[in-house]
Amino acid sequence: MSPSDRADDRRTEARREKEAVREKRRRGEGIGWNGRTLREQLAELEDKTEATDHYCGLSELELKNEDPIRYEQLYARLRGDLVTARETSKEVSATPIVEQEGELCYGLFTPEGDSIAVSTGIIVHVHTMSEAIKFMINHDYEESPGIEPGDIFVNNDPHVGDVHPCDLMTIIPIFHEGELIAWVGGVNHVIDTGAIGPGSMNVSQASRFGDGAYYTARKIGENFDLYNSWKKEYPAKTRTPDFLKLDERTRMTGCLMIRHSVKEMIAEHGVETFKQLSREAVEDGRRGFRSRIKKTMLPGTYRGASFVDALYEGQENVTREYAQENHIMHAPSELHIREDGTFQVSFEGANKWGWHPFNCTPAAIQGGIWVMLTQTVIPNELVNDGAYYACDFHLPVGSWANTQNTETAHAYAWHFLVSAWAPLWQHLSRGYFARGFWEEINAGNANTSNWLQGGGIDQFDKLHAVNSFESACEGVGARYVEDGEPHASAVWNPEGDMGDAEAWETVEPLPFLGRAVKPNTGGVGRRAGGAGFESMRTVKDVSRWLLYEMGNGYMTSDGGLFGGYPAASGYILNARNTDLEERFENRDDYPQHDLDPESGDFESKIDGDVTRRPEGISTPKEFDDYDMYLNYLRGGSGLGDPLERDPEDVLADIHDGYVLPRHAEDAYGVIVEKVDDEARHNSAVQGEWELDADATEQLREERMRERAETAQPVSEWYAEERERIRNGDDLIDDVKKTYESSMRMSTQFATFFRDFWELPDEFGFDLSKKAQKSLDNRFDSGLRPMWDSPTRGHKTWLDVGDEPYVPYTWTDRSIRDLSGPESTFGDREQAADDD
């Protein structure tokens, strides 16, 4: 059958199905199962799930229990078809973001919007698309604009169900004999969303009105054809219309392939089997998550905090003058694990949102945390919304984690999101350690940056934007039993890849001058964090071309674990008005790398205006031909005492380009001696080194002695720190503003903070006038419920009055209050032992 025949068949079938749906509606029936409306079905499902603690009240997995092999076959087939759809459809796309790096994902959802199975890829959307579907259901889309066979919907609104607006999702319903039996959705990261600056995640906007186009769960087609209005609208709202058109075809291709697979499964096995399978898969996922938590964690409350910088003081081209201020994200995090395997994450104490695009919505946080959990707690194919039903979240309203504000920008919510979950790795790893699951322990993930973005008139004289996804390839955090993988993936896409340089060059007027493993980027430790890498880019054949950086700067978001060190922090390196062209013409040496930023090597090989500064974010700035830009992709954090690392491993790190020889001594206490200048190993580092075992042993003993001598009792350290806080004299305004903001956001946090540091009840930090004004300005902005999809899960997030829904344990409870040291997991919940 030819593709056009198949398309015709599909339309004919849609028309027939549509008539069946309309007949049902004439009879007063809804499009859900057994005549119910979708909203009734969703309401009933949530009620029964919460009441029974089983998805939709399913206490028995009949299909699975009766014929487990058949169940697994059916589920594996569904999942396999999703993966196949992704692998096939990504070839349709013209952006390396999708085609090379794989920033694409598909999900199959129940009529109520719960994911049954997801493909590989950016599985952050395991739940964001769910929220978009639930939004449509709860806002009675069944009545208006109608949900019918052949309809096509789009969403990229993070308040509805997305992380940030550059992730465009296509969602189509699948019908069978007048009933909506499933939804299929596909999402990919597009190059440009039409923001105030070029690229998918612009950084210079103070509010969402500079984020680019938001499409709020809209119907954009019927009978599997896009409306002409849509075809005319969205290409006009981006700098890269052709790429977005192909991205949309990619998503449609995958969705239709998956729809076809579902229809085939129903034809072979019957609709009732499919319905049962979809329900059981979610319940199975829920049980699997609970069961794994019970097996691998100890009940209790795990606490931590993380920070990341977002510095805008002195930045150019910021859309509002008042946005030119520095922000530090504060994410105090608590994980409550209970005896029955329930799992609650609380961010009480998170500080206020800011005039930057790193703010999060509940969907963003939930999607973000999910993608992390799917790589830790559920490292298998059974990733679906079952796990969502096993967890809940507390995201303080008005904080960066849940802004509920019309103005807040969200273009790169990931910056805070990725940084905020740093303690979650540590919570889980501490649990794993206590239960002996050492292979599962992970020190954390890389801060997934830098983001090379920009745009202007490209080498084809066309308006263009770029968004390099080399950032999908970062160092991974160290494990307890192994080093972290170097330049491996990004936490938001475990299938991530750096992409071929040639592929990027076809769509970016930014030729590669060099690409190499970047030394000293992985955190040091007994197990080293995976190293990041770097690409040295120049600019060619452009006009009015802008580029900018985005990522962590002074601060590292992941702190390392069990004595391991964090990964290296960020920095920016650009060179403008260079003599690179002359160097090419004269065949002179030119910088291909910046392997050792302190060496002066880069500066020695180029003349021009070199900018080197220890920050991670810059706003769009103009670049011309032969200017240079370093794209530095971060490493993962380390685990354990670096003095316990095998010296032979440190030697190998030098040859592999992970550690600079001079830092082997500084960081690891390992003495090496260069024995050959010319030898090359598997890295950009030239030379051969040998280990001086005796000198190393001696140095390490000395270091241990120094530690003992300089170590300070906690009580002394506490007293000194307390004085710093009380006086506030040597604290920078940004730090004081951060804590003051958290204390204003949360009386519980304020009480905890004052109690812990034995401060007066009325204690507050003295802020500069500017900082004071900034806080007042944002605290006075008020709340507007942007998240108005009344699901049970949302109730949890928003149900914050005087007392948080999730118990706040910083002040009124401690781990000792749970069930005592003898506590083991009880049998209140008979979870299946089958994850």
């Binding site: 809804g30 909203r39 309401a43 009441a51 009675d140 009545e143």
Partner: protein, 132 residues
């Protein structure tokens, strides 16, 4: 025990709460019968959460457009309903629960009988017996 709750309006929160709270026993089977005058019971279910708050298992079923009382009685007979509850949406000038056409048809139907109780927000027909 099986109870049918006839829903004429999505505003019937109080009726449903009264029926579930003081008429229906924990663990009973409940059928919400949606009349064509109501497009969707979703908001009502989301508000009341019958299983979370009242521990009842339930099913939502639409009565088709153009139904008559015999359709309803057939439904009740098929599920051997012990009770039929109807929300009171209005009262007469003298404060009596207003009876609409459907309620009258049920009350005066030959094939169904039992006890008739008028509550604060609902009319409850219970101990139902069915004729031939």
């Amino acid at each position: 025990m099986t109870t049918i709750i006839i829903i004429k309006s999505v505003e019937h929160h109080a009726s449903v709460r009264e029926i579930l709270g003081s008429v229906v026993d924990d663990g009973e089977r409940v059928y919400f019968l949606r009349l064509p005058t109501v497009r969707c019971l979703g908001p009502l279910i989301q508000e009341v959460n019958p299983m979370i708050n009242y521990g009842v298992d339930y099913t939502i079923t639409p009565l088709p457009e153009g139904y008559d009382v015999s359709t309803l009685v057939e439904f009740a007979t098929e599920f051997d309903a012990n009770r039929i509850c109807i929300g009171i949406s209005d009262r007469t000038l003298t404060g009596k629960a207003r009876i609409d056409d459907l309620t009258q048809s049920i009350l005066l139907h030959d094939d169904i009988s039992g006890d008739f109780v008028v509550g604060e927000h609902a009319i409850i027909l219970e101990e139902l017996e069915y004729g031939d």
